[in-house]
């Protein structure tokens, strides 16, 4: 016979929702894309938290820790992706954290590789299909 607590554990495993923190670092105000993605992820059963605009990388990482997020998604369209990704990589190392992160936005294809070298699990340039991003996140 299963005990009540076992059931709880069983349900927690069965219905475990992945938690994603979507974030807007820096000063960029373009938030249509990140909100569309947040909406789509929620519809596909992912637990989504969105930070809102103009958060520092330090704040974003802290919020990810507080929220117990499994993944951070950075949305950057002003062209500052390199600088901000270097920053998150640095903060993760400094704080000895191992939260996975992805980045999306106005990223030239030739920058994709360097962002992934910095530690981005994946970099999604604008024009990426939403489905592609969702499938990637669900595959984690």
């Amino acid at each position: 016979m299963l005990k009540n607590s076992d059931y709880n554990l069983y349900f927690e495993i069965l219905f475990y929702l992945m938690k994603v923190l979507l974030a807007k670092p820096g000063l960029d105000g373009h938030d249509v894309g990140v909100k569309v993605l947040a909406h789509a992820l929620k519809n596909s059963g992912v637990d989504v938290v969105y930070t809102g605009l103009r958060k520092s990388i330090e704040n974003i990482v802290q919020q990810a820790v507080d929220e117990n997020a499994d993944l951070i998604g950075l949305s950057i369209l002003s062209g500052t992706h390199r600088i901000l990704c270097e920053r998150i990589s640095h903060v993760m190392t400094e704080r000895n954290l191992n939260i996975q992160w992805i980045v999306g936005g106005n990223i030239p294809t030739e920058d994709v590789e360097s962002l992934e070298k910095l530690g981005a699990l994946k970099a999604f340039p604008t024009g990426t299909n939403i489905e592609t991003v969702i499938r990637f996140i669900q595959s984690l």
Binding site: G26, D31, V34, K35, Y50, G52, P108
Partner: protein
């Protein structure tokens, strides 16, 4: 052929515009008359101005060409301004970098990597003096694309013009200065909603009393639509915003005719060709009626929906970017057929980068070809009387009005924005639209049809100039060490007191910038008094 004759033209398929209107396959005179029996009485330059605000429109003077420009340092921007003017542009539309737009100095840690990136960086009055050096402000009208920090940036423009000897009572120009739309889209808000509106109203009041030819606000349907709103919502929310500023200005004791003629609009163009033209014609008629019937405006000019239109960033694609040149040419045509006052186009490379000189030139030439080769200026409102356009025009007038009533039901636009009601409605719409593009219901050439299997990027990047950013920071530090600190402290203190006492802050802001207080210093004082906006989260 016989079969065709028998077909009922009204019964083929179903076409629904983005605004939700069904389109018939043929329109006739009776369609127009049902909606608007007064149609034959409409004249350009005559209330309610459906056909244009001037009797002769472009026949007398073509629309102003005012490309958005500005990047890196004020020195670099000054060069680009002069390049554009040399090539036939007669107005300037200044882009500011994000630190300036958010009220931060270049040496603020939060500005890292953003100094001079998406626009010109401005820290003090000195930067304005450099950027406009050698540009005749009587001949070239300047539009400042600034919102959250508009009070400071406008103060700098006025101080610079005054120092150069221009008579402020004759000074022309425009500021975007529409903070309410920043809460909906674009996002360069700083202060809470009510305080933000107060600052906008300060500028309207100050200009009406001191710089009467200056247009202190350009209400932006543009960014509302870029954020996902449909064309009806774009116009409705913009009109609600303009009404909100007007109501507050009237509370300061100004009559509607003392300021309404200096309010202007910035609208978006992409999507269905005819729908956009009707949107502007119907909107123009409705705005005139609102001003006359609801506000009692006697001056015709107060009833004018003056606009800048031509850009439509959301319509452009990153895929096959050269196609954007064709798209923007159509947008320019729409804008001209809609009777715009000023035109600015997005450049074909804007999805990638800030415009290269080449792309800026193509945009400029696109508008010049339209003006000089196509006969677009020969006669006023060439589409007036088209059964389709006129029917749609009527429809827009009615639907925009209905949407505005909805906003009233939400407690007015200021409340609807403060509670996030509008943002929520628009993000829902953005999601629906994006899904429709991704599943091909809305066609985008090169994106979901006529795709290339392998695309090589052909757009050249405008490089980010890190040296220029460092120079800007050094320039600010050097200025701060050289300037006389006593007047900086005194003027900032006056600003703080005026803010606490709920005075009009324009005079204190002008004094502070004249003392070379920086954007960041001035905004920090106001943050102390007003606090900062807390964004409601909706998606």
């Amino acid at each position: 052929m016989d079969n065709l004759k028998n077909e009922n033209p009204e019964s083929i398929g179903n076409v629904i515009l983005e605004s939700g209107f069904e389109v018939k396959s043929v329109y006739r005179r009776e369609d127009v008359l049902i909606g608007y029996p007064e149609i034959d009485e409409e004249e350009p330059g005559k209330y309610p101005f459906t056909r244009g605000i001037h009797p002769l429109m472009y026949r007398k003077q073509p629309f102003t060409i005012r490309q958005y420009a500005g990047f890196a340092s004020p020195e670099e921007t000054n060069k680009r301004f002069k390049f554009l003017i040399r090539n036939g542009q007669n107005g300037l539309n200044v882009a500011f970098d994000l630190p300036t737009q958010c009220g931060l100095d270049s040496d603020d840690p939060r500005s890292l990597g953003e100094v001079g990136r998406v626009g010109m960086s401005v820290d003090t009055l000195e930067d304005f003096e450099i950027a406009f050096n050698g540009i005749d402000l009587d001949k070239i009208t300047v539009s400042l694309t600034i919102n959250g920090a508009a009070l400071v940036i406008m103060a700098m423009y006025f101080a610079m013009a005054e120092k150069r000897g221009y008579d402020l009572s004759k000074l022309r120009g425009t500021s975007q200065n529409d903070i309410l739309k920043e809460f909906i889209g674009r996002g360069t808000w700083i202060f809470p909603v009510d305080s933000s509106v107060k600052l906008v109203v300060d500028t309207i009041e100050y200009c009406a009393r001191n710089i009467p030819k200056y247009s202190p606000v350009s209400v932006c349907g543009y960014h509302i639509r870029e954020s996902g709103a449909n064309p009806v919502q774009e116009m409705a929310y913009a009109f609600c915003i303009a009404k909100a500023y007007s109501d507050e200005t009237i509370k300061r004791g100004l009559g509607i005719d003392e300021f309404a003629s200096r309010l202007s609009y910035n609208f978006d163009i992409y999507g269905n060709f005819f729908e956009q033209i009707a949107k502007f014609r119907g909107g123009r008629r409705l705005w005139a009626k609102i001003m006359r019937e609801q506000y009692g405006a006697l001056n015709d000019r107060s009833c004018w929906m003056r606009m800048i239109a031509g850009g439509g960033g959301a319509g452009l694609t990153k895929e096959q970017p050269e196609n954007n040149i064709v798209r923007t040419a159509y947008y320019a045509l729409i804008s001209a057929l809609s009777g715009t006052q000023t035109m600015a186009l997005c450049t074909y490379d804007e999805a990638f980068t800030i415009p290269t000189e080449k792309a800026a030139e193509i945009a400029l030439r696109t508008m010049q070809i339209l003006t000089h080769e196509m006969g677009i200026c020969d006669t006023v409102d060439p589409l007036g009387g088209s059964y389709y356009i006129e029917t749609l025009t009527n429809r827009f007038e009615n639907e925009i009005q209905k949407e505005m009533k909805k906003v009233d039901g939400w407690g007015g636009i200021v409340n609807a924005i403060a509670t996030g009601k509008i943002q929520e409605a628009i993000s829902q719409q953005a999601y629906i639209k994006e899904t429709a593009i991704q599943n091909g219901k809305i066609k985008k050439v090169g994106v979901n049809c006529f795709k290339k299997t392998e695309e090589k990027r052909t757009v050249e990047f405008h490089p980010y100039n890190n040296d220029a950013a460092n120079k800007q920071i050094n320039k600010l530090r050097s200025l701060k060490s050289k300037r006389d600190q006593a007047p900086v402290n005194a003027t900032l203190e006056r600003l703080r007191q005026d803010a606490k006492n709920n005075e009009n802050l324009m005079p204190a802001a002008i004094e502070a910038v004249k003392a070379y207080a920086s954007v960041g210093e001035i905004i920090e004082v106001l943050k102390d008094v007003y606090g900062e906006y807390q964004e409601p989260i909706f998606f």
